[in-house]
């Protein structure tokens, strides 16, 4: 069984997901985890699939929907990820302010230096407003210093940043 990483990017139109899913189903490729969204109007889809078909066959099957040049589909075989327990506790970092170069690099580098592992991140630029939301697993000992460092970065960049525990309740 192959594990395949598939990306589809390009000009948005109705029916892309249906076309991709249909092609995969015809090949007997099982769509497992997926995420899709629109980024500045562009359609963006990332899929992890399993199947007996080689990556080249899947990519070739997706070629017709890319023929007009508005979509790009890539398929690569990947090794199954071993489930490793995540150390640390979950925190949510949210940032907003005027857009400027280097916001994402400054924030993510600070988190990386502290041993933080980003598990989810999205950014949006709307007019002059830049918004970043990141979920990060932080070593408990690093939380205080990261909070201080993010405050300093925010002051330097002229943006607002908050970090708070990513709470989850079991019911």
């Amino acid at each position: 069984m192959n594990e395949l990483a598939i990306t589809v990017l390009g000009h948005d139109r109705p029916g892309i997901v249906a076309d991709v899913a249909g092609t995969l189903a015809e090949l007997g490729v099982n769509l497992t985890d997926s995420t899709m969204t629109r980024l500045r109007g562009h359609f963006a889809m990332t899929l992890i699939c399993t199947g007996e078909v080689p990556a080249e066959t899947v990519e070739a099957a997706l070629l017709p929907m890319c023929a007009d040049g508005t979509l790009l589909a890539t398929v690569r075989e990947v090794l199954p990820e071993a489930e490793t327990p995540q150390p640390g506790t979950p925190y949510l970092v949210s940032l907003h302010g005027a857009d400027r170069l280097g916001i994402v690099s400054s924030v993510t580098q600070a988190l990386a230096r502290a041993g933080g592992n980003i598990t989810d991140l999205s950014t949006r630029l709307v007019g002059p407003l830049y918004v970043l939301v990141a979920e990060v697993d932080l070593p408990a000992a690093a939380v205080e210093s990261v909070t201080d460092e993010l405050s300093a970065i925010a002051a330097e960049l002229g943006v607002e940043v908050t970090i708070r525990p990513g709470e989850m309740d079991i019911l």
Partner: protein, 185 residues
């Protein structure tokens, strides 16, 4: 029994009944997706079930509620106990309700929920932070109305959903509102 707390009445109903630990079933077990049947709260079977649910809930650290479908029974019975939880405001202690319904709900707020029956995922769910719940007490069958808020209100809605064949997955806030569950000890 005016003036007697729900927890005391639940304790009185199950006095002398030895609860047994029951295995918790996980999705996609069909029982979790079927509306539960109404029960006779005065029957000995339901009193025994309440005792079992209390024991099973207490056996799992951090668990604040358990409904009959979660132990494989499609019945409208659940127990709740948010004692000591940092988000709890109103707290009635450990109590059980049969055939419960949400009669009024207001002040909706999002929150991330996990469930013993969906061990691998969590989800962002909007719930009322003020609720009035009606239901029957085990043992006596007395009809009661419970007003609660904050975390207990969320727990009540989650458990009543179980009794109606709904999981938090049926109520998530959007396409990116389901997350892999991370376990931290």
């Amino acid at each position: 029994m005016a003036g007697v707390s729900l927890a005391e009445q639940t304790r009185a109903a199950t006095a002398g009944v030895i609860g047994a630990l029951r295995p918790v079933v996980a999705a996609p077990d069909a029982v979790l997706s079927q509306p539960g049947k109404a029960v006779d709260p005065a029957s000995t079977e339901i009193v025994q079930l309440v005792a079992d649910l209390l024991v099973t809930m207490r056996s799992s650290p951090g668990c604040v509620g358990l409904a009959a479908p979660q132990v494989g029974l499609g019945l409208r019975v659940f127990v709740v106990d948010v004692t000591g939880h940092p988000k709890a405001a109103n707290c009635q202690g450990p109590f059980a309700l049969c055939n419960a319904e949400v009669a009024a709900a207001s002040r909706w707020r999002p929150g991330r929920e996990g469930c013993m029956s969906v061990p691998e995922l969590t989800g962002d769910v909007k719930r009322a932070t003020r609720v009035t719940v009606t239901g029957q007490l085990p043992g006596t069958g007395e009809q009661v109305s419970v007003v609660s808020d904050a975390f207990e209100a969320r727990a009540l809605q989650h458990e009543i959903d179980h009794c109606n064949g709904l999981l938090f997955l049926d109520r998530v806030a959007g396409a990116h509102a389901v997350h892999p569950r991370k376990v931290y000890l």
